[in-house]
């Protein structure tokens, strides 16, 4: 909705987007086991669910390229909405690429239950839902209230949200690879967890404050 509006052309490859959405839904029935690769499943199950988890990148990629094609063939009007769409794409793609990594079962055995997964899931969820929802908020606000939101303040909020989010969640990949497990309230000192956790905490405060302001 937002992409064709601001590109001022109908969506390129609309049928492909619909097919890709159906394909994603279909594949989703066969990939949920990637959350439980370490529970002692038979090798054949891991192989099938690993393949499905990686194959979901195909329809998702098709959708993303249709969005990009629409923007390329259109006459784009820059707006805060589109900035949030771009941020959503950039973030979701990082989450998707780390998703392909953890879909590879041997790597998942190493990364399972660490902060790497916390970083991955936030990139998927925030890129796939939160940034597009904020874009939708900016898009529909004038329709409901009859007033346009400030583009200048929106741009400031956008950059603060983007920086805050990345400062909070990107170091978690590293923290996880160093070996910090998830769902712990404390950790031993001297293992290299302190600095990335401090950076994440600063980013989280920025993100929280800006969300409250925005």
């Amino acid at each position: 909705m937002i992409v064709p509006t601001f590109a001022r052309v109908p969506m390129a490859g609309y049928e492909w987007i619909v097919l890709a959405a159906v394909g994603t839904g279909f594949l989703s029935f066969g990939l949920w086991v990637h959350h439980m690769f370490t529970t002692g499943l038979p090798g054949i199950s891991i192989g099938i669910f690993s393949a499905a988890s990686q194959a979901v990148a195909i329809p998702t990629g098709v959708q993303i390229f249709c969005f990009i094609a629409t923007l390329l063939i259109g006459r784009v009007v820059k707006s805060v909405c589109l900035l949030f769409v771009l941020a959503g794409l950039a973030t979701f793609i990082i989450g998707g690429l780390t998703g392909v990594m953890v879909a590879v079962a041997p790597f998942d055995f190493q990364a399972h239950d660490t902060y790497f997964i916390v970083g991955h899931l936030h990139y998927v969820l925030v890129g796939g839902t939160i940034f597009p929802i904020v874009a939708g908020f900016y898009y529909y606000y004038p329709l409901i209230t009859g007033k346009q939101m400030s583009e200048r303040l929106g741009t400031v909020a956008f950059w603060l949200l983007l920086v805050g989010f990345n400062v909070a969640f990107f170091p978690m990949h590293l923290t996880g690879l160093i070996g910090l497990p998830r769902r712990v309230y404390s950790y031993p000192s001297g293992m290299g967890f302190e600095l990335p956790n401090m950076i994440s905490s600063i980013g989280a405060f920025v993100l929280g404050r800006v969300f409250a302001l925005a």
């Binding site: 192989g47 990629g61 390229f65 589109l82 771009l86 990594m101 590879v104 055995f109």
Partner: protein
């Protein structure tokens, strides 16, 4: 400061873990290339407005789509190898 043994994935203690660490570095390199191409294309489309060449657009987008499918067929190949290896482990 305490000196505790490393439990990092990137500090492998055996040959199997070393292979997985190498796999991570390979996947990270690939991921960086893909991210820069796709996000670069999206940023170009938004930040450099104006009607772009339709033929070039088709080439870029279909090329990227093709690479997605081609890359994924590689994934399927990898998965079949993985199943095969698992059969031998057991």
């Amino acid at each position: 400061m305490n000196e505790l043994p490393s439990q990092s994935t990137l500090d492998p203690a055996g040959s199997g873990a070393e292979q997985i660490a190498n796999l991570f570095y390979v996947m990270t390199s690939g991921a960086l290339i893909i991210w820069f191409i796709v996000v670069g294309l999206a940023a170009y489309a938004i930040l450099v407005p104006g009607k772009h060449n339709v033929r070039l657009t088709k080439r870029l987008v279909i090329g990227c789509c093709g690479n997605t499918c081609f890359g994924s067929s590689g994934t399927l190949k990898f998965t079949s190898c993985f199943c095969h290896r698992l059969r031998w482990w057991r």
